[in-house]
């Protein structure tokens, strides 16, 4: 049986593909999994980037992620793997403190590293979840 691939209808303002003219789908179903694009801190009503501290951006991202997953019929507790990219690893503890409040027990697998991020973002987060 051919595994399903579909673009999952997402929360409108979080659909960065349409908001910013980027060729990206925020949530893609492929087989058993949902592949979620990286999220930067955006206002869920306007789709505008919201700049703050690493902690506040993490909070915005994970709030948006929770809504995206639920709209896709999934949830934070179905996330299997998260990749967190930070503008500096010095901010990892601040990110982690916020992150720990979102993911219920037991948390997904995760990798965190530092890199140069687009649009001045302090943090971006991508994940894979069970559909």
């Amino acid at each position: 049986m051919t595994p399903r691939r579909e673009i999952v209808a997402s929360v409108r303002a979080l659909d960065a593909g349409s908001s910013f003219g980027r060729s990206v789908s925020m949530v893609v179903r492929g087989g058993d999994f949902l592949f979620v694009s990286s999220l930067a801190a955006v206002d869920p009503h306007s789709g505008e980037h919201v700049r703050g501290t690493t902690a506040s951006e993490t909070r915005q991202i994970l709030t948006n992620l929770e809504h995206l997953l639920e709209a896709a019929g999934s949830s934070l507790d179905k996330v299997v793997k998260v990749n967190v990219l930070l503008h500096t690893m010095l901010e990892a503890p601040n990110m982690n403190e916020v992150y720990a409040r979102f993911f219920p027990e037991p948390p997904p697998a995760r990798t965190v590293c530092g890199a140069r991020l687009p649009d001045g973002a302090k943090v971006i987060i991508e994940c894979t979840a069970l559909a």
Binding site: P3, V24, G31, V36
Partner: protein, 135 residues
Amino acid sequence: MTEKLSRSVVQPRNPRLNVSRNANLPHVPGIRIGDYIFLSGMGPIDPQTGERNHGPITEQIRTTLRNMQHMLESAGSSLERVVRVHVVLADISDMPEMERVYREFFPIDPPARTAWSMQLRFGNGCEIECVALAT
């Protein structure tokens, strides 16, 4: 207990794009596992010569994505079956130009994507990796 998925190697039909073999590196161009294909990161290799193509970033992205298309098609998949892409740029300011070329390859229902910048080897301007459905 779930049955073990079968694991096999993905190779490009064009041997010049088999960087793993040509450069004697400890990886393979891709792995097929169950429903999925995981490709190794690809750079701007000229499919005619096997050499790195270091033109403007738009050409590098185009070359890399064409090579990725070839790799997927060699495995019986396609760009339309891609579910996740990682685009790494040597220079973060190349994002708009990357975007312009990228959309040529994923015009409809594009995959999930994360794009960022890191130091890249060999003077490459980009490195692109993807996960696709095998069928």
